[in-house]
Subunit: 161 residues, 2 copies
Amino acid sequence: MDLELVASDAQEGKKQELKLWLRLLATTKLMSQEVRRRLRTEFGATLPQFDLLAQLYREKDGLRLGELSSRTMVTNGNVTGLVERLEADGTIIRERLEDDKRVTVARLTEKGRTYFEGMADAHERWIKELMAEVDPAVLKRLLAELGQVKESAQKHLSEED
Amino acid sequence: MDLELVASDAQEGKKQELKLWLRLLATTKLMSQEVRRRLRTEFGATLPQFDLLAQLYREKDGLRLGELSSRTMVTNGNVTGLVERLEADGTIIRERLEDDKRVTVARLTEKGRTYFEGMADAHERWIKELMAEVDPAVLKRLLAELGQVKESAQKHLSEED
DNA sequence: GGCAATTGCTTCAGGTCTCAACGAATGTCT
DNA sequence: AGACATTCGTTGAGACCTGAAGCAATTGCC
């Protein structure tokens, strides 16, 4: 939790960025551990799996693995493993394209579709519950302001793409 | 990145919590991937290691592994491995307490202290850089509002401690 | 004292994650 | 056509991460 403490001796107003960053990390870690635990105990799934399925859910025709990789911000190598496990239990299927035999497309099975819908519902309830004490107006402002942070970070990534 | 898209068809103002959560995840992931990469290329370290060292840095007398575990929000089993690796390259040392031979205390070596100071400096610069486009007033408000989210989440964890 | 519960750390199995190296298919350029 | 480069996915090593089971030391209770 308290990587936060690194900055505790910061002088008034200085190191704002650092403090915010540590709080961002702590908050996200706290919440995602809770979400992970519930996904695991109630659905036997993991967060990366849920994330991947969410992408496929909105694309009836499926997605190529590379596309999945960039949308989930997960490396190629990792997508391979995720897809293998999900295919193994019948949630998704994987097929090679005829036109270009390098590419593989993954998409939800019917079973996977139903399975995901259940999880997505529960997931949304959990998040609402976790944020229950926060004023709706604050939520809205947070969304916008976090957007600024994300934009800023994106502009300052090490030059290359 | 765009787990965010799961919520794209949300009706005006509804699903605010979900959208915020997804943005929180995306922002943190984006930034921590960048930080990880730089830690790795410039210092040969990882983020969890940095986190752990940060805790030890502020406690001259060291910390017991259990304390490290709860402060870094890392499981016990994981702390064992982290500490082993850090001890192997001389950054920290581990010793058993005489009073209670169950407990192990880890603390920074002199070498580790210097090493960490260099990283901490660089780390702070990186974060400032990544957040450079965000207005200081916004940073301040974000810090406070994120605090509310964290508090709320903490209150709603599955009952047990 | 004696013995069960508790505490503190380690070990283990399985999944996630990164980077780097590889191999196959396709594209490009001459 | 032939050679080179690029794209896409897989593989592999190493670290991280989790929950659960295991083991040792200590505490608590009779």
